[in-house]
């Protein structure tokens, strides 16, 4: 006997499996109308590829997968598409969703299909593609696309492949009967899985010990293979993926992680059969085994049901008495959800239709006060403290809820079952989880708008700083020109500068334009260099983020794209500029008129430069310098404030802001020095 581990907690509700597992699986028949929801799985809904009025054959794809995490839908019998519209679907919220409605023609005519003779000759990716095209989603509960589970490997190696035949929910026997009757197909399906994911250590089928016939059948079928059938004591919820992994391997899936993180892949029994049929016979997933049970039905058994068959059709076949029925449940009594309407179809994840009488599952009694007896904590398979979670849920204390790991609750219902006060604990947790998710979404949104705002602010500041720098550079250039022309006496120079400026505005327009032009070119080059630098940094950051698998990869990618487009744009500008203003050295000798004629853009630029110059020249130098000092001071203050804020919040941009403050400090010193010098010069 292989060693098995125990899980914490668990309960032993009445099994009630004998009602439905006595008879062999029956084919339920072909209903007149079938309804195929486009979303029967986790991920993006499939997209309809048929039109109303179109004739389809059995097994024909009627909706294709949209994207990687999605699953195709196939017609389960031949007939005519009569509607593509919203219909009630099996969902706890009793919602409607897009569905394809098919009117069967009764011929049940297959589309041409062919199995793969020797899949070992096939490439793994190709094989996974076959599975993807067959529309297979996990048939245990959540309906996760099987192809995704089988293809996303990365660098993880799989040690153990676990096939989940636990079926720990009371009443349900669909996997039980499948294992009894089709053990060979299951083993063949597992062999395909083994080829695909190549488990290094072992392949295990986990079954609760209340299914001796199934265990015997699988043991017979698995003889001579590397597949190991492991049975363990019956206890709810052993069939939860995380619980089964713990029972069979003693390992725990880390919080927020996947079984792959501990080298394990889990698949449901039903899924293995679907994979076998897809590969060996080329049949897509168009039917499943569904238990119909409960005392409100005369005939309790397992049906092979064409997907899309209305629940009411199955109930009609089972001698259903609505008057006796307390509620209609899809799934089991612990985790199943009630159906408000029996017109919903059987989908890929529908393992059971439970129609209990009032005596069987009486309506819930009013909840009494929690006496903190701790029975819920005793039975919780995740080792949570449900009574604490309940208090926090009632008080909407979301931080404490997260601190007490509410998000690790698997909603198995053991706590509610054990609660002597009949408190609907799981419902409290569902509501709180939804609230927390919503809050998180809101927080992310707020953070994003904050980032957007800050980025905008930073951009505006930067533009301001660039303008400032340009103004300074222009001034310096003009001063130098003036100094070169005249004597080096500072006072005289200043006077001359003023004169020269006036003169240049009046009579030396071309010269000023030349200066502007050369400055523009320098500016463009400078900007280009800057953008290039930023592009390199952004790329580095992106690379880093990608290596670390950070959440911000997307943000960095957009940043790189943006910077790149800016880089290209600036480059384009420079090229255009060079084209418009050929060799700078020549331009000084060129008549102004010629240049003005070269294009409207240039003309605009010149007009702007002139206007700026005029505005600047109307200020005295002292004023301008004073202005510069006060502007830089203001900016420094602002930057310091920002830095303080950031430090208080321990944000990520402290370094950046510290740099900025230091730079501004230097700038202020410069501006101050210039101003002082000017004043000294004037007062000497």
């Amino acid at each position: 006997m292989r060693k098995v581990w125990d899980i914490h907690g668990g309960i032993h509700p009445l099994e009630n499996k004998d009602q439905s597992n006595q008879l062999p699986i029956e084919f339920a028949g072909i209903p007149e109308q079938l309804v195929f929801p486009l979303s029967q799985h986790i991920g993006a809904p499939a997209v309809a590829i048929v039109g109303v009025g179109q004739k389809v054959l059995k097994g024909e794809m009627i909706a294709e997968a949209k994207g990687l995490v999605s699953v195709a839908v196939h017609a389960s019998t031949s007939g005519e598409v009569i509607a593509i519209q919203d219909n009630p679907v099996p969902h706890p919220s009793t919602m409607s969703a897009p569905c394809i409605t098919l009117k069967s023609d009764g011929k049940d005519q297959w589309i041409e299909h062919q199995g793969i003779n020797n899949y070992l000759n096939l490439d793994r990716t190709e094989l996974v593609n076959h599975i993807r095209n067959a529309g297979i989603a996990g048939m245990g509960g959540a309906g996760f696309p099987s192809a995704v589970k089988l293809s996303v490997r990365g660098e993880q190696t799989v040690e153990t492949l676990i096939i989940n035949g636990t079926e720990c929910e009371p009443y349900i026997t669909s996997d039980d009967c499948l294992m009894r009757e089709r053990a060979d197909e299951i083993i063949a399906g597992i062999e395909i899985l083994r080829y695909l994911i190549n488990p290094m250590k072992e392949t295990l089928i986990g079954i609760e010990d209340n299914k001796p016939e199934a265990i015997a059948a699988l043991n017979r079928a698995a003889e001579g293979t590397a597949i190991n059938v492991v049975s363990f004591p019956t206890k709810y919820p052993s069939g939860g993926e995380k619980q089964l992994i713990q029972i069979l391997t003693g390992k725990e899936v880390p919080a927020g992680g996947l079984p792959g993180d501990v080298g394990i892949v889990c698949q449901n029994i039903g899924t293995t059969v679907a994979i076998y049929r897809a590969i060996a016979h080329g049949e897509p997933l168009i039917s499943r085994i569904t238990t119909v049970t409960g005392n409100a039905c005369d005939h309790n058994t397992n049906y092979e049901v064409l997907l899309g068959t209305p629940v009411s059709y199955l109930l009609d076949h089972s001698g259903f008495h609505q008057k006796k029925c307390s509620r209609l449940i899809m799934g089991g009594p612990m985790m199943g959800f009630t159906l408000e309407n029996s017109n919903v179809p059987i989908v890929k994840t529908s393992n059971c239709i439970l129609a209990p009488t009032v005596d069987e599952l009486p309506p819930p009694t009013p909840a009494q006060a929690c006496i903190r007896c701790g029975m819920c904590a005793e039975v919780c398979p995740a080792s949570l403290l449900p009574q604490q979670l309940y208090w926090f849920s009632r008080g909407k204390e979301y931080e404490k809820l997260e601190d007490h790991n509410l998000m690790d609750c698997i909603e198995c219902g053991a706590c509610s079952y054990a609660c002597p006060s009949n408190i609907p604990l799981v419902q409290y947790y569902r509501a709180s989880k939804a609230d927390i998710r919503e809050q998180k979404q809101d927080a992310i949104k707020a953070e994003q708008s904050k980032m957007r705002f800050e980025a905008r602010q930073e951009r505006l500041d930067r533009q301001e700083a660039e303008k400032e720098a340009k103004r300074k550079a222009r001034k310096l250039a003009a001063e130098e020109r003036a100094r070169d022309n005249n004597n080096p006496d500072p006072i005289q120079a200043a006077i001359d500068r003023a004169k020269a400026k006036k003169a240049s505005v009046k009579s030396e327009k071309p010269a000023a334009e030349n200066a502007t032009e050369s400055l523009d070119r320098a500016r463009l080059k400078e900007v280009l260099a800057n953008v290039e630098k930023r592009l390199v940094t952004a790329k580095e950051k992106l690379k880093q983020a990608e290596q670390q698998g950070s959440d911000n990869v997307e943000a960095f990618r957009t940043a790189v794209e943006k910077t790149n487009s800016k880089y290209l744009k600036t480059k384009q500008e420079l090229i255009t500029f060079n084209a418009v203003n050929p060799a700078l050295s020549d331009s000084s000798s060129m008549p102004a008129e010629k240049k003005i004629l070269t294009g409207d853009a240039a003309q605009d630029a010149i007009a702007k430069a002139l206007a700026k110059r005029d505005a600047a020249s109307s200020m005295t130098d002292e004023e301008r310098l004073q202005n510069a000092v006060s502007a830089v001071t203001k900016r420094l203050q602002k930057a310091q404030q920002k830095l303080a804020e950031e430090q208080r919040q321990e944000g990520e941009h402290i370094d950046l802001l510290t740099n900025a403050v230091a730079k501004l400090d230097l700038k202020l010193a410069d501006a101050d020095a210039a101003y002082q010098q000017f004043q000294n010069n004037n007062h000497d």
């Binding site: 609505q322 006496i371 701790g374 009949n422």
Partner: protein, 355 residues
């Protein structure tokens, strides 16, 4: 067709709060019978009177709080409080003493502190402490056990008379020897005799833990084991309390000199030890909830129990020890949160404060 739409799970276990409380009541029977056998009708009369008073007080509180009276009375929780307090009050106490205790337990310690499930302190023990502090003489004169007293214990009629008219109304209570110091009292007062001498000098010491007391303790132990088998509570708190009491008394026993604290067996079977361990310490509302928390909670109660028994100024210390630890329960819960599946052990020293 529209069908009932409710969320999972759709089935629930066999226990409900009313049944849990009834099981607790049933489990007190062996201990109560032992007390009755040794101390007479006073024990049962205490229980009956306390139950009547408690139902009345609960109904009143529910009416004042505008709660459905029948629904809440049917959870039997107030009867448990009444029975536990009645067992703690000396037999042949006057009606008003019991009533004051019950009214304080139910109105103040239970409803004013938030009602069932919300009260931070064990209501029965709050009532007991209020009585002990307010009426120390009435609360510390226990009747003599049947074997230690050579007269007749009061009859049923006499006992009822005592309930309504007080002990003075009955000539029998003026007789010497109808009330006696409990073994715990004697041991605490003693500073000259060895434990062995005490046993020969005082008739009430009995075999192990005092005449009557030892059988009452064994009765409550049996009831506690029954509750454990019914999974009404887990072993953690009571067993750790008994173990820590054993360790403490073994440590200070010194094989029976005049300053000895008494043997472990004496402490386990004397006073309210077993009653406390299985019926008071296990009160779910006011104790720690995680298993580790329960172990610490129980162990500290055992330590406090011994310390107050030996060096405190009250003969028995169950109520004080439990109330002191009721304070600590939320704190214990915070630091003993079990490791969740898939998580590393939580390091609380790194997080802020004990909230």
């Amino acid at each position: 067709m529209a069908l009932l739409n409710i969320t999972s799970p759709h089935t629930s276990g066999p226990l409900d709060t009313g049944k849990v409380m009834q099981l607790v009541l049933i489990a007190t029977i062996p201990g109560v019978l032992a007390l009755h056998w040794h101390f007479g009708w006073g024990v049962l009369i205490n229980i009956v009177w306390a139950s009547i008073a408690a139902l009345g007080a609960e109904a009143l509180a529910l009416a004042l709080r505008k709660r459905p009276i029948k629904f809440y009375l049917s959870d039997f929780s107030v009867l448990v409080t009444a029975v536990l307090l009645a067992i703690s009050i000396p037999p042949y106490s006057p009606w008003w003493l019991i009533t004051v205790g019950i009214v304080f337990s139910v109105l103040i310690a239970k409803h004013l502190y938030g009602g069932i499930g919300y009260n931070p302190f064990n209501p029965a023990m709050v009532g007991y402490v209020v009585l002990l502090i307010s009426f120390p003489i009435e609360m510390t004169t226990w009747a003599s056990p049947r074997q230690a007293y050579d007269g007749q214990l009061p009859s049923l009629i006499e006992s009822i008379t005592v309930l309504f008219s007080g002990r003075d109304a009955l000539p029998i209570f003026s007789l010497d020897g109808i009330t006696m110091a409990t073994p715990l009292d004697i041991l605490k007062q003693n500073s000259t005799l060895t434990v062995e001498d005490l046993w020969t000098k005082f008739p009430q010491f009995g075999q192990w833990g005092g005449l009557g007391w030892e059988w009452a303790n064994i009765g409550f132990l049996a009831g506690g084991i029954f509750l454990l088998t019914q999974r009404v509570f887990t072993w953690h708190a009571p067993i750790s309390m008994l173990v820590s009491l054993t360790v403490m008394s073994a440590f200070f026993y010194d094989s029976g000199s005049s300053i000895s604290g008494g043997s472990p067996l004496f402490h386990l079977l004397s006073g309210a030890t077993m009653f406390g361990a299985f019926f008071i310490v296990t009160d779910p509302v006011t104790s720690a909830v995680s298993n580790k928390g329960k172990i610490i909670y129980g162990a500290l109660i055992g330590v406090l129990l011994y310390l107050i028994r030996l060096w405190g100024s009250y003969p028995d210390a169950m109520a004080f020890s439990v109330l002191l630890m009721n304070f600590a329960a939320p704190f214990l819960d915070y630091y003993t949160q079990p490791r969740t599946y898939g998580h590393a052990k939580k390091d609380r020293s790194k997080s802020e404060g004990g909230q």
